[in-house]
Symmetry: D2
Subunit: 146 residues, 4 copies
């Protein structure tokens, strides 16, 4: 396998999520891209996720960012379901429109035990970011990955 190829396909990633992570269905996340060090996911607009003011809720955006990070990390270490978020920081920047939200994740540091990434969220049809996230995942040791 090339160094820079993703270590999981979109199909395998989505199958893993369907099997083990019920919360993904609830939001209808779409995995658009998984590379080695980058990933992109989409939250389809749905009235179920609005907050006061008629816009996409903060929790839906945090869930999307966390999901994109999961795709990012598994794209680098392969199918390790027990990789878990240890911390996440979000800054909400602008009201998202009544439109799908895109999350572009990229790796800042892949270590043996921790992976740190950042995620830029934007509203489809706009150039301005709606939120910015940094998050850290803990990677289980090789003997505790199942």
């Amino acid at each position: 396998m090339e160094k820079n190829a993703a270590h999981i396909t979109i199909e395998a990633f989505e199958a893993l999520c369907r099997r083990e992570a019920n919360f993904v269905e609830q939001y209808g996340f779409v995995t658009e891209h998984i590379g080695y060090g980058t990933a992109r996911a989409r939250l389809p607009f749905d009235d179920a996720h609005i907050r006061p003011g008629g816009t996409v809720s903060g929790p839906a955006m945090m869930a999307l960012a966390d999901f994109a990070m999961y795709a990012l990390v598994l794209g680098m270490i392969g199918p390790v379901p027990l990789a878990v978020t240890t911390s996440l920081n979000v800054n909400f920047l602008r009201k998202p429109g009544r439109a799908d939200v895109l999350a572009e994740a990229r790796i800042l540091k892949l270590g043996k035990r921790l992976a740190v990434g950042e995620v830029n969220l934007s509203s489809v049809g706009s150039d301005e970011p709606v939120a910015h996230v940094t998050a850290t995942y803990s990677i289980p040791p090789p003997d505790r990955r199942e």
Copy 2:
């Protein structure tokens, strides 16, 4: 009204959420307490919110913490639906059990424009915290609250 009484009742808060924040229903959050400077909310355990490993997902816990912060802030400033989260930081500490999750929020600083609070999340039936959150809400000026 006493200085230290909550500025919104649980009933009024839940009605506001039902009317304007569809995402609350999706999680089935229960508002247990709103005081002046404190609030407590509960996420009933539900297989819909699990993540790989069989535990409550990070996004469900972040949503609960954000919801408890919203109750906290409206308990201090009254029914201002357009108060919005500007930033949130979460540290995940332990795997929650297969049990309800409780969020205890308390105010750190209520200013004219920003409110900062912290939220301790715990699994019902355990003494150890499962996550710790700090969050900042932006309070709209008096003429832009509807």
Copy 3:
């Protein structure tokens, strides 16, 4: 050694810092207490640390919080100089007075690889917190602690 006794004394901690961490001297930090799961440090007021407005600078408060976390972590794991901060989040709450700043740190979670704590900062002579910090330290594996 009792389970709940600190694993380092104030004297040993300060000697370690003098030997290896020059930046501590620059601020004149005083270690007031190290327990098992709690620590307290003090930044003496000094005109060298002021920012516009005449108050203690944000960087001085962040440095103090990080120092208190270091005392907290070494109080639990003993003299492991290579324990390092992996992330830190601070909310500044109020202008500190022209007075010493106290940092009270307490542990949220001590794991094998990560320690998470929170630090409350206050101005001596006032009841209100001036800043709130959460931070994560990475603990090196036993064979890489020197």
Copy 4:
């Protein structure tokens, strides 16, 4: 004045810091660039800032990031000394070398009351980032800027 020109010069910014922010001198920060929406600052390597392990301390890097954010914000709003950090989040990614540290700040959102930016820190002579920071500044209303 052009929309995209910086609203403060490096000379005016450094004079303001010398006059009002003693802590800047302590680190010897150099302001390398201020644009409208970008800024770059440098921490000269100095044995006074090392931590155990012989590398630049976390507090010195946080101070540098906060300083670069201050230059960024004043580059967009002009000489408003009372702009203050309300929150800062840092992820430490790699051990910096024994070399100067560079901080590249860019704006994520400039609002009327808050400015959010991110700062990438790198060690001179290396391509890999050593730390990543997001921070929020509060902008005082026009009648309270002195």
